[in-house]
């Protein structure tokens, strides 16, 4: 409970967005519904609304990320906020400035919101607990812990295709142990009432305690993919290839890569998801990635709408506090 509570204000409204844990079903649905209206903005000639005009949002990326950073940046710009992109790896910390000094410097520049991407689990929580009260924090992915906006946009994408979560079988495939995406997805799916969540991967990459999160482990694709409605592939972190945890890329694709044959085990209308960037031929067959069943590019577009909704919601709570 502690630590998660700081993302809600006294009225139970979203103040920071740090993790899926602690967000109840009704707030979850509220965010998804709100995102729906921003998706419509993205389809207009002028893809911009003046909601956050005059606000300054700092993208603080302590580890490299292109997709998440650019979608956050676009989301902020479509809300008419001003955006600062700071690649902390290459700037202040090299000169010996501590994290808190960096944050205070940005506060002195009157920033309103920080988006944090950090290799350490809990980094966004820590920052949210340290910033001035009017500042809002969004977790753009921290260590192995959480990637809540990714989970949110994935739920948004699933709902577009399969509106009733309470009838779904969902399989998450790959390096679950090292994936912040997987943890957030499992939390999100259970909050929304998905009755069957499966994780599939080599034993070395499935955490022992996975059932305590409500997911059932499978070590064979042929068992795990049977009759699922949603196939969520995880990115294989190739940097972990050298470690003893994984066989060769070729061997991995043979056993856990998604191809036509394995996908045929899922329901005929099953959708295929991937948070990106995809490794073609390693975790997913190229043809499947480009097929009609793949919703990978929709996930990207939805990511902007969902991030707009979250930013607008938490900035809305900023205003209420001031009056």
């Amino acid at each position: 409970m502690t630590g998660n509570n700081i993302q809600l204000d006294a009225k139970g409204r979203l103040k920071h967005f740090l993790t899926i844990e602690g967000i109840d079903r009704s707030l979850f649905i509220e965010i998804l519904d709100y995102a729906e209206s921003f998706a419509a903005v993205g389809e207009r000639a002028v893809k911009k609304v003046p909601l956050l005009r005059g606000k300054t949002i700092a993208n603080l990326f302590f580890e490299p990320s292109t997709r998440t950073r650019t979608t956050f940046e676009l989301a902020a710009k479509r809300l008419s906020a001003d955006v600062l992109n700071l690649n902390i790896l290459s700037s202040a910390t090299k000169k010996g400035e501590t994290l808190l000094d960096t944050l205070q410097t940005l506060e002195a520049m009157h920033c309103d919101m920080f988006i944090i991407r950090h290799a350490n689990s809990g980094a966004a929580h820590f920052i949210a607990s340290q910033v001035a009260p009017h500042i809002r924090v969004i977790n753009g992915g921290d260590g192995r812990h959480s990637h809540p906006t990714q989970a949110m946009l994935d739920m948004f994408t699933i709902r577009k295709h399969k509106p009733d979560f309470t009838r779904l079988k969902v399989a998450i495939i790959g390096d679950v142990a090292h994936s912040r995406v997987a943890r957030s997805e499992i939390h999100a799916l259970s909050v929304l009432g998905v009755p069957e969540i499966r994780v599939i991967g080599p034993k070395t990459l499935i955490p022992n305690d996975i059932s305590s999160l409500g997911a059932h482990p499978y070590y064979d694709m042929n068992d795990g993919l049977k009759d699922v409605d949603v196939v969520m592939m995880l990115r294989l972190q190739r940097e972990r290839m050298c470690s003893a945890l994984l066989p060769s890329e070729h061997e991995y694709f043979k056993r856990y890569g998604l191809n036509e044959e394995k996908l045929a085990l899922a329901k005929p209308d099953a959708i295929v998801m991937h948070p990106g960037p995809i490794n073609r031929g390693i975790e997913i067959d190229s043809q499947i990635a480009d097929s009609e069943r793949s919703v990978i590019l929709q996930q990207v577009s939805h990511g902007i709408a969902v991030r707009m909704a979250i930013m607008a919601m938490i900035m809305g709570s900023q205003s209420e506090e001031a009056h």
Binding site: I31, A45, K48, L51, M313, S319
Partner: protein
């Protein structure tokens, strides 16, 4: 304002009379109609039907364009705006329920111009309660009323439209 139910119907009829005259005088047969969410849409639906306007009705939700966002925050469940036509060089009729400060109309105009550059925009309102804070006037008015400070005129619907006056004693 004791018999509010009939009042709404009378006001709508009055608006129709005025708009018909304008259409006849200015050749506005290709006019597009846009209602402002939610009360304005209810009124617009009635006008749209009775005036036999062919193109579908546009619906505008100005929640993302309000000038008081930084004061009151946003509230979720925003029905997206839907303008199912190209507004470029078209004559538009914007419809709202109550014209008061004029800030809603300001927001609506801003949003409309994010869709294109209309030839003209006219404004029709069910009730004009005066006390505008911006240089915005309606072209067609169902009824002009005066309310005390703190009193609000609120349209409820959508089946039976009723105008409620609420507020301090």
């Amino acid at each position: 304002m004791n018999d509010a139910t009939t009042d709404v119907k009378q006001c709508v009829d009055e608006m129709i009379t005025q708009i018909r005259a304008e259409i006849a005088n200015n050749d506005l047969s290709e006019m597009l109609m846009i209602g402002i969410h939610t009360g304005g849409v209810w009124i617009a639906e009635r006008l749209h039907k009775k005036l036999n306007i062919e193109p579908p009705l546009g619906k505008l939700n100005i929640a993302f364009y309000r000038d008081d966002f930084s004061r009151i925050g946003t509230h979720p469940q925003v029905t997206p705006s839907k303008l199912p036509f190209d507004i470029e060089d078209k004559h538009l009729l914007l419809v709202d329920d109550v014209l008061y400060t004029g800030r809603t109309i300001r927001a609506a105009l801003n949003e409309i111009f994010d869709y294109g550059r209309p030839a003209s925009v006219r404004l029709a309102v069910l009730i004009d309660r005066g006390e505008h804070e911006l240089p915005i006037q309606a072209d067609f008015v169902g009824k002009r009323i005066t309310l005390k400070q703190g009193e609000h005129a609120k349209l409820t619907g959508p089946e039976y439209l009723t105008l409620e006056i609420t507020g301090t004693e």
